[in-house]
Amino acid sequence: MSASAEATVLITHAVGLHARPSVKFTKLAKSFAAEVEVAVAANGPWFDAKSIVKVMAAKAPKGTMLHIRAKGDGSTQAVKALVDLVQRDFDEDADHARSA
């Protein structure tokens, strides 16, 4: 039986999971061996969290409840790290919040 983990987190960053936030998000996801997926609804569709093209296609704006799930080695750590990143507003300042 392989490990798995799942969590939901509210996107509070002004522009949502777009452009620069999605670069950081996918980079972090790629640092884990586990298979990681995201969705904007509990029943999917699920997108590969390591592909920026797919993550952008999820179209998750500010205020979205983002669902994150992972399977395999380090899945718990992967989900936790990604949730933290979203909660920290992707470590961004307001620069492009204003442009949005």
Binding site: L10, T12, A14, V15, G16, H18, A19, R20, S22, V23, T26, K27, D48, S51, I52, V53, K54, M56, A57, K59, P61, K62, G63, T64, D89, D93, A94, D95, H96, A97, R98, S99, A100
Partner: protein
């Protein structure tokens, strides 16, 4: 021939037009699909290499955009569909174009501005690879040119030498695009939304990105008037910088309070609190973007701004949804939303939602100098009902032993009934004139309708008379009066506002310096 658009980055540019929509050089087909695939992979690699080289010289914002482009290009999910189309017989350039065009189409149909604006990034990514495929670099932009086209690629912006002036004029485009953001931070004049006028334009043009217009084939008189405006703009801008950190004072020595308007809590990150007298308007609609936010989310957002402001006042406006700002699950569909269930009318109708905001505000109030105002008040009953809800929630919090404070409660003056008979509101703590809505209601000209934009002037004598009357009433009764509409930051409107008696303006953060400079020039 003058065409009006929307200013995306203020400034003036005079120079030759450069056509952004020239077709790129053509691609030579290869002998086999394997070679076609190899050509595409190598072109993507080349595009990534060029972007990586650009990052070296780019600053924070620009580097972030380039990193995004690189991440997209390096993602196999982007090239996958093109590579398999090549496998079934398509040439590399057509396959790549088709794959990217379908991605672009999905961005263009999004209902969110921010996401739609990313279509320009995708087009840029597409064209960089097409350029690398055809191995023919595009014609370089002549220095000082006005780049004119449907839209502009961020890399085109970054590759252009702006040190010799120049500007950007777009038939479509968006003020929310990455290029618009870069243009504002670099001070490159830019106008969007000029629309199709069906003609190819060449020669010299004048770009007025302060008002939002372009003049093709200008007459000598137009050129002279333009240069005058451009030079006063440059003077004002240069002079303004020295005003930013100083308190605002008129030529006659009258002090004027200048506060800022903010839309997102994170807006304050880029503002020095020392440069302003507080927050004259904090909108709360942002919290209601897609869903109705819970109490904790609101409390945290309000508290952050209050703590940032220290002992300076922060005036938070209760949610002004409706009108042109719909919120799913909260606002209602109406045929005439500007005259419908919006602002306080909606909050009083949906008290469950309003009470959540009230509790968050009462709790946040202990963290700073909070004032709360209600939007779209038309009658004194609306104010007393809203104030009564504050009293009820305050009592409930007290009973639960939750720390809180009742902030001063004021109203927006934007419905003419209030401006005409302010004496009915003598018990409010303060007035804040919402000049955008007041003007549209006095002039019966919708704010979002370009066809009647010429009527929407705060400097119309009828609007100014109402502003003066409210200000005079406030002074007589000791009720503070401020103004938080766009007019407050408009150097052209500031003299009239000060002459109408106002001494407290709230402006967009980017307008702080220019507003203070304009105030210093007024002799009241």
């Amino acid at each position: 021939m003058r065409i009006e658009g929307i200013p995306a980055s203020p400034g003036y540019a005079e120079g030759p037009l450069f056509d952004l929509d020239q077709p790129p050089a053509s691609y030579k087909a290869k002998a086999s699909s394997d070679e076609e695939q190899a050509a595409l992979v190598s072109a993507i690699g080349k595009a990534v290499g060029r972007l990586a080289a650009l990052i070296e010289t780019a600053n924070g914002d620009a580097a972030g955009i380039l990193e995004f482009h690189i991440a997209m290009l390096e993602d196999d999910a982007l090239s996958g569909p093109a590579l398999s189309a090549i496998g079934s017989g398509q040439p590399a350039d057509a396959a790549w174009r088709a794959a990217l065009d379908s991605e672009i189409a999905s961005y263009e149909t999004s209902d969110q501005d921010y996401f739609r604006a990313r279509a320009a990034d995708l087009r840029d990514i597409r064209d960089q690879v097409l350029r690398a495929l055809s191995e023919d670099s595009e014609a370089a932009t002549p220095p000082g040119a006005i780049l004119y086209g449907d839209d502009i690629a961020p890399t085109r912006f970054l590759e252009t030498d702006w040190s010799k002036g120049g500007g950007i004029a777009l038939r479509r485009g968006s003020t929310a695009s990455h290029v618009a953001m870069l243009a504002r931070s670099r001070g490159v004049p830019m106008v969007v939304g000029l629309g199709d006028e069906g003609e190819t334009r060449t020669g010299v043009a004048l770009l007025d990105a302060e008002r939002g217009a372009i003049v093709f084939s200008p007459s000598p008189a137009e050129i002279e008037a333009f240069r005058q405006s451009a030079s006063t703009f440059a003077d004002r801008q240069g002079a303004a910088r020295t005003f930013l950190t100083e308190p605002a004072v008129t030529k006659a020595g009258t002090a004027v309070r200048v506060q800022v308007n903010i839309a997102y809590p994170s807006d304050v990150d880029g503002i020095e609190i020392e440069s302003c007298d507080g927050v004259g308007l904090m909108r709360t609609e942002f919290l209601f973007g897609k869903t109705v936010p819970d109490e904790e989310t609101q409390y945290r957002a309000y508290r952050n701004v209050l703590e940032w402001a220290g002992d300076k006042p922060v005036t938070i406006r209760t949610v002004d949804a409706g009108g042109d700002k719909p919120v799913p699950g909260f606002t209602v569909e109406e045929t005439n939303p500007f005259l419908g269930l919006r602002g306080i009318r909606l909050s009083l109708k949906r008290r469950d939602i309003f009470r959540v905001q009230i509790r968050a505000l009462l709790r946040a109030a202990i963290h700073g100098n909070l004032k709360v105002m209600f939007p779209m008040i038309a009658t004194p009953e609306e104010y007393s009902q809203a104030a009564a809800l504050f009293a009820e929630e305050q009592a409930a919090l007290a009973a639960q032993g939750v720390a809180h404070r009742l902030p001063p409660l004021g109203i927006m003056v934007e419905v003419p009934s209030v401006a005409l008979a302010p004496e009915a509101f003598a018990d409010v703590a303060f007035f804040s004139i919402g000049s955008n809505d007041l003007t549209q209601y006095v002039m019966a000209a919708a704010r979002d309708n370009a066809a009647v934009a010429h009527l929407n002037s705060v400097r119309n004598p009828a609007v100014l008379r109402l502003i003066a009357a409210v200000t005079a009433f406030g002074r007589e009764r000791g009720i503070p009066v401020s103004l938080c509409g766009d007019a407050g930051g408009d150097p052209a409107a500031i003299p009239a506002l000060l002459e109408a008696g106002l001494r407290d303006l709230s402006v967009a953060p980017a307008q702080l310096a220019m507003a203070k400079a304009a105030i210093a020039d007024v002799a009241v």
